[in-house]
Symmetry: C3
């Protein structure tokens, strides 16, 4: 029961991220999904839908990457999870639902496919070369704000393991130093930190970074080397 | 597991719609519920609560319509699902919970009744003539904005199967043409379309119709015949 | 199925309250949690996380109170459920997860501990005297706005069973009289009432008290004796 609740909490976080933010922006959402993927239970099936092109000619995909299955549109959203899993496999969905609305493939196509996958049913599909996926050529990191959460914290597309602890971030004309957690700086002060899914995030202790610095999705973030010694 | 997730997603959509919007407005909410009902799993039990009169003398109802059970207040909210199912049946809830707050009958009355129904327990009730339900005389469609979703799309109370594909909608001083899906118009352009639950909806491709046109719940929508040829 | 939905709805309400509001404010959140605790199923495990000090030296706690288990940070959040249950017991969590982020102990520490508790696994812990908990000396009630819900209703930290029905509340320069439920006053009029979890709440029938009176979290509420006769 509680274990199920845990898993659902994680899934719910992903689902909310991908449904809400970055709204209508599969490119930025792909970096979030890839960062969150590590925390999803092995063997799970993820329905990922950020799909501004819903109802147009774009394909639907099934992806197996890192021991998890993903179902979603071929618009780049799944490209980052493929990129970070060398042994991943990609298929085009050939199955057609009995009824397909033009604007809600999450309900009509992707969720039923996920249902079939998770119950071991065969889903009509054809293999796709990774190089034929949309987004396969996107960069490994995005030096910008990807997403702003409900606390006003700004998640970036920079992987924390690529930024030195002493570095400073320049964002919207401000310099921000790193710290391990909110409480390590005084109330009202800003910090960057390695967030819980391994990305660089900017926050204000007991405050709202997005408001304080006027951050919005897409604002550029620059990494400056820290002062030695 | 995934099948359960699917159902929960649908139920969650309904629950969110009915809890959030149109807030405190069982009349408009009744059209949304009726439109969403077709996508709910047969045999399911729906707890529907838009209930500004909670704690006053209004009754609670059990409705069987289209193979589904509904539980909620007798304020018109369930009248549209009854209206669209000729063989529906309506009962007044006579069961009384051990504790009944004045402001949260969703928790204290309707959810427990739904629990009893779904586990096959008898619920004290008395038959009600459909004509004695609140809202039984409401019109079949509402030519206005019913609900604005988190993308700023404006759902109307017009059934898509009653509007010709070539028709234009006049809303808040704007003329909007129909299309199958968002991507069929250029970014920033408006469209109306048959939404995923069969109602006419107004959106802007990669934009926010509610902001662009100043739409709010209750704004009138007029259907104009399209230009022939 | 429906019974499970009921329980989840309750848990979800608690989880949402504690995640969202009062944001970053474990003191006010503790009064909400204590008020909601009575409606949680006996034997359940509650993960409660309002945790601005996440990642600093503060401890994690397991609390047994009123037949329920609670898991969360030692920042006062659990102090009110302990205060209202004379036979409650408190332990410090000694278990360490394989991976502990600095900013998401809800995922990394508290949820796994709850999972172990709910499946009967032993969790390394050490007894703590109640008097060593943070918040043990906080007052029994808070005469102020604790939380504003999505309807704009303002929940206070006053227990309804301590306020006479004829009393008036003074809040932000306004006098508000009591009523049993929204529909007992005319549309647009304000009322205070005993809310569904036993706290005094201020609302406007078919309106938004927070906007109408400019209420925000922390606004003081004063109880004035009603006019006799």
């Amino acid at each position: 029961m509680e274990a199920a609740i845990m898993d659902e909490a994680l899934q719910s976080r992903v689902i909310n991220l991908l449904a809400d933010a970055p709204r209508g922006d599969p490119r930025r959402a792909s970096y979030l999904l890839a960062a969150l993927a590590h925390d999803l239970p092995p063997g799970c099936v993820v329905v990922a839908v950020v799909d501004p092109g819903v109802g147009t000619a774009r394909d639907g995909l099934i992806v197996e990457a890192g021991g998890r299955l993903y179902v979603g549109p071929d618009n780049g959203l799944l490209s980052r999870v493929v990129d970070q899993a060398p042994d991943s496999e990609v298929w085009r969905i050939d199955w057609q639902p009995p009824r397909l609305s033009n604007t809600f493939h999450g309900r009509d196509l992707f969720a039923p496919v996920a249902g079939m996958l998770s119950t071991g049913q065969a889903v009509p599909r054809s293999e796709l070369r990774r190089t034929d996926m949309v987004g396969v050529d996107w960069p490994g990191q995005l030096p910008e704000v990807l997403y702003i959460d409900r606390f006003g914290n700004a998640m970036t597309g920079l992987r924390a393991d690529t930024v030195e602890a002493g570095a400073q971030l320049q964002v919207a004309g401000n310099l921000v130093s790193g710290a391990a957690t909110y409480g390590d700086v005084r109330p009202g002060a800003a910090l960057w930190y390695a967030n819980s899914c391994g990305l660089i995030e900017i926050a204000v202790n007991q405050g709202t970074a997005a408001e304080q610095f006027g951050l919005t999705v897409g604002v550029e973030v620059q990494v400056l080397a820290g002062n030695p010694g």
